[in-house]
C-alpha cells in the first residue's frame, strides 16, 4: 500500500539497536531489559493486586463490630512491631549493599550481606511468630472473629512472602559459595532484590494501615 511506509527504517527507534548494550542477562531483547527482570516486574505487578485484595478485606472488617472475642486493635504492641518493622526495613539496605558488592566483584562481601539480609528477615518472621502466639494467648485465635481471620491471613501471607524471600537469599548464598554466581550474573541478585524490596514496601503499607491508622 503506502510505499513511504515501506521505506522507513528497518530498525525502530529505541527497539533493536544493532549493538545496543546487552542486558545483564547477556542476550538480546526488544527492550534491552532481560526477560527475567521483566518477568519479576510483571509478577510483582500481579502481587500488588493480591495484597490489595487482602488489605481491602482487612479494612472492610476492621471497622465492624465483632461478635465474639477481643478486637485486634486492643492487642497491638506498637513499640514491638515498630522495632521488627525497622529491622525489616534495614534488610532492604543490606540487600542494596549485597547487590553493590557483587557488582563490584566482591564476592565475600556479597555473601556477608546476603546472610545479614536473611538474618534480618528471619528476625522479622520470628517477631511475627511471637506476636501471633502472644495474641493467641490473649484469646484471639484464627477463628475467633472476622477481624482475627482477616488479620492472621493478611499478615500471614506477608510472612510467607518474607519466608520465600529468605529461601531465595539462602539459595543465592549457596550458589555464590559454590562459585556459580559470578559477577556477570549480578542480575540474579538484582532480581531477588526486587522481590525483597517489594515485600518490604508492602509491609510498610500493611504496618501503616493495620497498626498506625486509627
Amino acid at each position: 500500500m503506502s510505499t513511504t511506509e515501506q521505506s522507513t527504517m528497518v530498525v525502530p527507534p529505541g527497539g533493536h539497536e544493532p549493538h545496543a548494550e546487552h542486558a545483564g542477562g547477556g542476550h538480546h531483547t526488544s527492550t534491552g531489559l532481560s526477560n527475567e527482570k521483566m518477568a519479576m516486574w510483571t509478577f510483582l505487578g500481579s502481587e500488588c493486586l493480591l495484597f490489595g485484595g487482602l488489605i481491602s478485606t482487612f479494612l472492610l472488617y476492621r471497622g465492624k463490630e465483632v461478635v465474639s472475642g477481643p478486637e485486634v486493635r486492643e492487642l497491638y504492641d506498637i513499640p514491638f512491631t515498630s522495632v521488627s518493622s525497622f529491622i525489616l526495613l534495614m534488610s532492604s539496605l543490606t540487600m542494596v549493599l549485597a547487590l553493590s558488592a557483587i557488582q563490584r566483584g566482591n564476592h565475600r562481601q556479597l555473601r556477608t550481606w546476603l546472610l545479614t539480609t536473611a538474618l534480618l528477615g528471619s528476625t522479622f518472621v520470628a517477631g511475627q511468630v511471637y506476636e501471633f502466639t502472644a495474641f493467641y494467648r490473649e484469646g484471639l485465635g484464627f477463628t475467633t472473629n472476622i477481624q482475627s481471620s482477616a488479620f492472621y491471613v493478611l499478615t500471614g501471607f506477608h510472612g510467607a512472602h518474607v519466608t520465600i524471600g529468605i529461601v531465595m537469599l539462602l539459595s543465592l548464598f549457596v550458589m555464590s559459595h559454590r562459585g556459580s554466581l559470578p559477577t556477570g550474573r549480578s542480575e540474579t541478585v538484582e532480581i531477588v532484590g526486587l522481590y525483597w524490596h517489594f515485600v518490604d514496601i508492602v509491609w510498610i503499607i500493611i504496618f501503616t494501615v493495620i497498626y498506625l491508622v486509627p
Partner: protein
C-alpha cells in the same frame, strides 16, 4: 524465582565438566522430540499450543454433554431427567467448564501457538514455564472433575456465592472444596502463562516489529494477558478466603459473626468482569485477522482497533458492580456503575464499525473461517445490546437471574468467543497441521451450529422476559414457557450435531492434500514459513518494516500504481521448492531448549497438595515434597542438553546480534560470553 530463570547455572561457570554433570540421576534429561513421550516433555510453544487446544476441545465435549442434560431436563415442564441435586451439579460444572476449561485454554492455545510466530520469535520467553502452565491447567481440570468420583461435584453455580458456598450447613460435602481448590490451581496456570506471554510480546519481537506493527491478534492477546495478570490475584484472594472458611473455620463470609455478605460478590466480580473481556478480546483479535484476509483489504482503522482494545481493558475494571444491582448497593453506586457500563459499549462499538468498514467494498470470500467471523460480529451485537439493557438498573432488577441473562451471556460467550475460536481453528488449521479442513463439511458445521445456537438462545430472551428463573431444575405446566423451552432444547441438539460434524471434519482432514505454506494468501508472518512450521520457526530471524509485513512482501505496485502480486518475493523460512521457497536446511547453529520432565512433575505436586487438604494431610506433605524437589531439579537443569543433538552455536557467531541462536536461547550466548 527459580521457576522463571531458564538459564542454566552450572554450565556458565564450570564449563566443560559441568556439561557432563547430571543434576539428578533419577531423571536424565529427555531428548525425544517425536513420539508420544515428546508431548509429555515438550517445551515447544507450538506443541504446547496444540495440547491446550486438544484438551479444551475434550472439555468442550464434556461441558456440552452437561448442557444437553440441562436442556433435556427443561424440554418439558416437570422434567424428570435429573434430580435437583444433579441439575445443580450439571449447570455448575457446565458453566465452570465452559469458562475455565474451554474458552480460556482455547485462547491460550492460540496465544501460545501464534504469538511467537507472529512476532518473529523462536519460542516464548520461558519455554519450560510455558509447559508448566499447560500441565497445571490440566491438573486443575482433572482435579475438578475427579470430584464426581470422590464425593460429589460442586453445585453452587459458577459464581459460588457466599454464604451459600462457605456455609457447611448449606453446602455440605466436598463439591465446593473441589471447586475452590481446582480453580485455584488453574489460576496459577493462567498467571504463569500471563507473565510468560507478556514478557514474550514485550521483549522477544523480531527486529522492526514495533508495537504498532504487531498483528492485532497479538495486541488483543496482550491486553487479555494483562487483564489476567491483575484479575487472577483477586480471585486467588477470594478463593483463599473461601478455603480458609470452609476448611479451617475462618469467618470471612460467616454472617453470624458479622461478616459482610457482599464481600464475595465484590471480589468475584472484580475478577469476573475483566474475565469476560479475557474471554472475548482474543476472539476479537482472531476475527480481526480473519476478516481482512478474506475481505482482501487491510484491517480498517488498525490504530483504533488497538486503542479501543486497550480502552476496553482499562474500562473493564470499573464496571464490576453491574452484576450486583439487585443486591442493595445503594442508589449512588448503582447510578455510577450503570453509567460506566454504558460507556464501555463505546470502544466495543468502535470495533464493530471497524469490522464492518473492513468488509465494506471488500472482495469478500466466504470461507468457513470468514463465516464464523461474520457470525461473531452479528451475534455479538445482539449479546452486546442485551448487555446494555442490563446496565439500566430498573431493567436489570427485572431481568436478574432469569433466562434473559442466560441468553445474554451465551450470545457473548458462545456467539462471541466460541464462534471466534472456530473461526480461528478453521483459519489456522492448515498452518498447524499442514492439511486443509474440508470446506463442505465446515460449511455444514457452521450453518448447523449457527441455526442451533440461535434456536437455543434466541427463545431464552423471551423466556427470561416471561419470568422463567435460571438455575431452577423444573417449571410447572401452564406458565406459557413450554414452546420456547422445547425450541431451545431442539436447538441444543442441533449444536450437538454440528459438533459431531466438526469432529468428523478433523478426523477426515488427515487424508486431505497438503495445504502449503500460505493457502489463504494471508497477511502475517506465520504464513511465510512452511506448514506445519519447523521446530525453530524461522531459519533467519525475520526483519519487519511495516504492518502486515508478509502481505507487503508478496504484493507491490506496478507502473500504473495497480497492486500486483510479485513472483519473486522473499519467503522468511524454509518452504519446499514447489512453493517457491528454497529448501535450505535449517542452519546448524540454531539452539532450542531441550525437553524437560520437570514441568509435568511439578504440576503433579499441586493436585496432591489439594487432595491432601481434603482427605489426609500426608498427601499434602508429599505434594509439597514433589514441588520442592522439582523446583530444585528444575533450577539445576541446564536449559540445553549438550547431548540432545540440536547443534551448537559457533563461537564466532555469538556476538552477532542477528544470530538466530541468541534470540530464544540465552544459553547459547551465555556459554561463551561469561566464563568468569
Amino acid at each position: 524465582m527459580a521457576l522463571t530463570d531458564d538459564r542454566p547455572v552450572l554450565e556458565l561457570t564450570a564449563g566443560e565438566d559441568a556439561e557432563r554433570r547430571e543434576p539428578l540421576g533419577v531423571f536424565r534429561r529427555p531428548t525425544a522430540t517425536t513420539g508420544w513421550r515428546s508431548w509429555l516433555t515438550s517445551v515447544d510453544h507450538k506443541k504446547i499450543g496444540i495440547m491446550y487446544g486438544a484438551t479444551a476441545m475434550v472439555f468442550f465435549a464434556i461441558g456440552g454433554l452437561e448442557a444437553l442434560l440441562i436442556r433435556t431436563q427443561l424440554a418439558t415442564p416437570d422434567g424428570q431427567v435429573l434430580s435437583e441435586q444433579a441439575y445443580n451439579q450439571a449447570f455448575t460444572m457446565h458453566g465452570t467448564t465452559m469458562v475455565f476449561l474451554v474458552i480460556m485454554p482455547m485462547l491460550a492455545a492460540f496465544a501460545n501457538y501464534l504469538i511467537p510466530l507472529m512476532i518473529g520469535a523462536r519460542d516464548v520467553a520461558f519455554p519450560r514455564l510455558n509447559a508448566l502452565s499447560y500441565w497445571i491447567f490440566l491438573a486443575g481440570g482433572l482435579f475438578l472433575y475427579s470430584s464426581f468420583f470422590l464425593g460429589g461435584a460442586p453445585d453452587n453455580g459458577w459464581t459460588s456465592y457466599a454464604p451459600l458456598s462457605n456455609n457447611l450447613a448449606y453446602s455440605p460435602g466436598m463439591g465446593q472444596d473441589f471447586w475452590t481448590l481446582g480453580l485455584q490451581i488453574t489460576g496459577i496456570a493462567s498467571l504463569a502463562s500471563a507473565v510468560n506471554l507478556i514478557v514474550t510480546v514485550i521483549n522477544m519481537r523480531a527486529p522492526g516489529m514495533t508495537l504498532m506493527r504487531m498483528p492485532i491478534f497479538v495486541w488483543m492477546s496482550l491486553v487479555a494477558q494483562f487483564l489476567l495478570l491483575f484479575a487472577i490475584p483477586v480471585i486467588t484472594v477470594a478463593l483463599f478466603l473461601l478455603m480458609f472458611d470452609r476448611l479451617f473455620g475462618a469467618n470471612f463470609f460467616n454472617v453470624a459473626e458479622g461478616a459482610d455478605p457482599l464481600l464475595w460478590q465484590h471480589l468475584f466480580w472484580i475478577f469476573g468482569h475483566p474475565e469476560v473481556y479475557i474471554l472475548i478480546l482474543p476472539a476479537f483479535g482472531i476475527i480481526s485477522e480473519v476478516i481482512p484476509a478474506f475481505a482482501r483489504k487491510p484491517l480498517f482503522g488498525y490504530p483504533f482497533m488497538v486503542f479501543s482494545g486497550v480502552a476496553i481493558g482499562f474500562m473493564g475494571w470499573g464496571v464490576w458492580a453491574h452484576h450486583m444491582f439487585a443486591s442493595g448497593l445503594g442508589p449512588v453506586s448503582v447510578a455510577a456503575f450503570s453509567l460506566s457500563t454504558m460507556f464501555i459499549a463505546v470502544p466495543t462499538g468502535v470495533k464493530i464499525f471497524n469490522w464492518i468498514a473492513t468488509l465494506w467494498n471488500g472482495k469478500l470470500n466466504f470461507t468457513v473461517p470468514m463465516l464464523f467471523a461474520v457470525a461473531l460480529v452479528s451475534q455479538f451485537v445482539i449479546g452486546g445490546l442485551s448487555g446494555v439493557t442490563h446496565s439500566v438498573a430498573p431493567h436489570d432488577t427485572q431481568q436478574h437471574d432469569t433466562y434473559y441473562i442466560v441468553a445474554h451471556f451465551h450470545y457473548v460467550l458462545f456467539g462471541g468467543s466460541m464462534f471466534g475460536i472456530f473461526a480461528g481453528v478453521y483459519f489456522w488449521w492448515p498452518k498447524v497441521f499442514g492439511r486443509m479442513l474440508s470446506e463442505t463439511i465446515g460449511k455444514a458445521h457452521f450453518w448447523l451450529m449457527f441455526a442451533g445456537f440461535n434456536l437455543t438462545f434466541g427463545p431464552m430472551h423471551i423466556l427470561g422476559l416471561q419470568g422463567q428463573p435460571r438455575r431452577t431444575a423444573t417449571y410447572a405446566e401452564g406458565m406459557g414457557w413450554d414452546l420456547m423451552n422445547q425450541l431451545a432444547t431442539w436447538g441444543s441438539y442441533l449444536i450437538a450435531a454440528s459438533f459431531l460434524l466438526w469432529i468428523f471434519n478433523v478426523v477426515k482432514s488427515r487424508a486431505n492434500p497438503p495445504a502449503g505454506a500460505d493457502p489463504w494468501d494471508a497477511r502475517t508472518l506465520e504464513w511465510s514459513i512452511s506448514s506445519p512450521p519447523p521446530a525453530h520457526n524461522f531459519d533467519i530471524e525475520p526483519t519487519v518494516s511495516q504492518l502486515d509485513e508478509w502481505w507487503h512482501r508478496k504484493y507491490g505496485e506496478d507502473d500504473h500504481g495497480v497492486i500486483v502480486r510479485r513472483d519473486d518475493y522473499e519467503w522468511m523460512s524454509v518452504v519446499g521448492p514447489e512453493e517457491g521457497g528454497t529448501s535450505a536446511p535449517p542452519p546448524e547453529s540454531i539452539h532450542l531448549p531441550s525437553p524437560s520432565y520437570w514441568p509435568i512433575v511439578l504440576a503433579l505436586g499441586l493436585p496432591l497438595i489439594a487432595y491432601g487438604l481434603l482427605f489426609t494431610y500426608w498427601l499434602s506433605a508429599l505434594g509439597g515434597l514433589v514441588l520442592i524437589a522439582s523446583v530444585y531439579g528444575w533450577s539445576l537443569e541446564p536449559s540445553v542438553d549438550p547431548d540432545a543433538g540440536h547443534g551448537h552455536v559457533e563461537p564466532d557467531r555469538v556476538d552477532d546480534d542477528d544470530d538466530p541462536g541468541t534470540a530464544a536461547d540465552p544459553v547459547a550466548a551465555g556459554t561463551t560470553e561469561e566464563p568468569s
